[in-house]
């Protein structure tokens, strides 16, 4: 009687921990997606910067803002792209740190779940023998 309620408690605990684990995995997957998006943007901006730096000082640069092509100053355009590259790199670094943290949490949660599983199994085996 007491042992079956203890078993049920263990199983409930196991379920909770398993849910936490799957939530962590979903967070990690989302982190990967955002990371991918930022990496693509970073690559594109670096290409643009390279093109802008190849230009003569008198070349015309335009930016597409909505449906309007607006003439931009070359120095200003370069500065803007550089700022964007810095911003994206900082975001990527922040995401990396978050990802590392999430992965560590996932590992420790996996160990907890595993140990709980073993406990449940040994409990059930013990009950079976009695």
């Amino acid at each position: 009687m007491a042992s079956s309620t203890a078993l049920r408690e263990l199983q409930r605990d196991l379920e909770n921990k398993a849910n936490d684990l799957s939530k962590l995995q979903k967070d990690i997957a989302k982190n990967h997606q955002v990371r991918k998006k930022y990496t693509i943007q970073l690559g594109e901006n670096e290409l643009v910067l390279k093109e802008l730096e190849l230009l003569n000082e008198d070349a015309n640069v335009f930016k597409l803002i909505g449906p309007v092509l607006v003439k931009q100053d070359l120095a200003e355009a370069r500065a803007n792209v550089r700022k964007r590259i810095d911003y994206i790199s900082a975001e990527l670094k922040r995401l990396d740190a978050t990802l590392q943290d999430l992965e560590d949490k996932q590992k420790s949660k996996q160990e907890t779940v595993f140990k709980l599983q073993q406990k449940v199994q040994s409990f059930q085996a013990g009950k079976g023998k009695a």
């Binding site: 594109e44 643009v48 802008l52 640069v61 930016k63 792209v81 964007r84």
Partner: protein
Amino acid sequence: MSSSKGIGIGGGVGGPKTTAPVATELDKLSVEQLRAVKEQADLEVNLLQDSLNNIRTATARLDIASNALNDLSLRPQGKKMLVPLTASLYVPGTLDDADKVLVDVGTGYFIEKTMVEGKDYCERKINLLKSNYDQLLEVATKKKSIADEVGIVLQAKLRQLTPSQ
């Protein structure tokens, strides 16, 4: 009920997040794990194939752009032409200076270039894409051979388990 769930999660914990096990170790893996490895390798191969296709499409579009540029450079100034306003509406116009072209370099930036520079830009981009394509092809073929190897070992294992046939 909870025990089967346990096996499912346990399999996931032991499951391979590893990249490529060495050929000798493949034999030591169970059928379940081999299947998981093969699935993951197949997934990666598919992803790489998609990327390869994307690069091929982009290269084709750049080629078309380059050809259009070449054609445009041959047209004289003042030539009558039809300008597309929408997909189904064209408006008559005359060709202005064909020596200046606006190049879309990405992230909403457009650069005015001369015809020569524009052609050079297309060439550069096409070469960049071609080298990316070659690199990717190398990686993709390697991954495919790994996936094939895993498949072979898996089939051998399966045949081992059912030798009566």
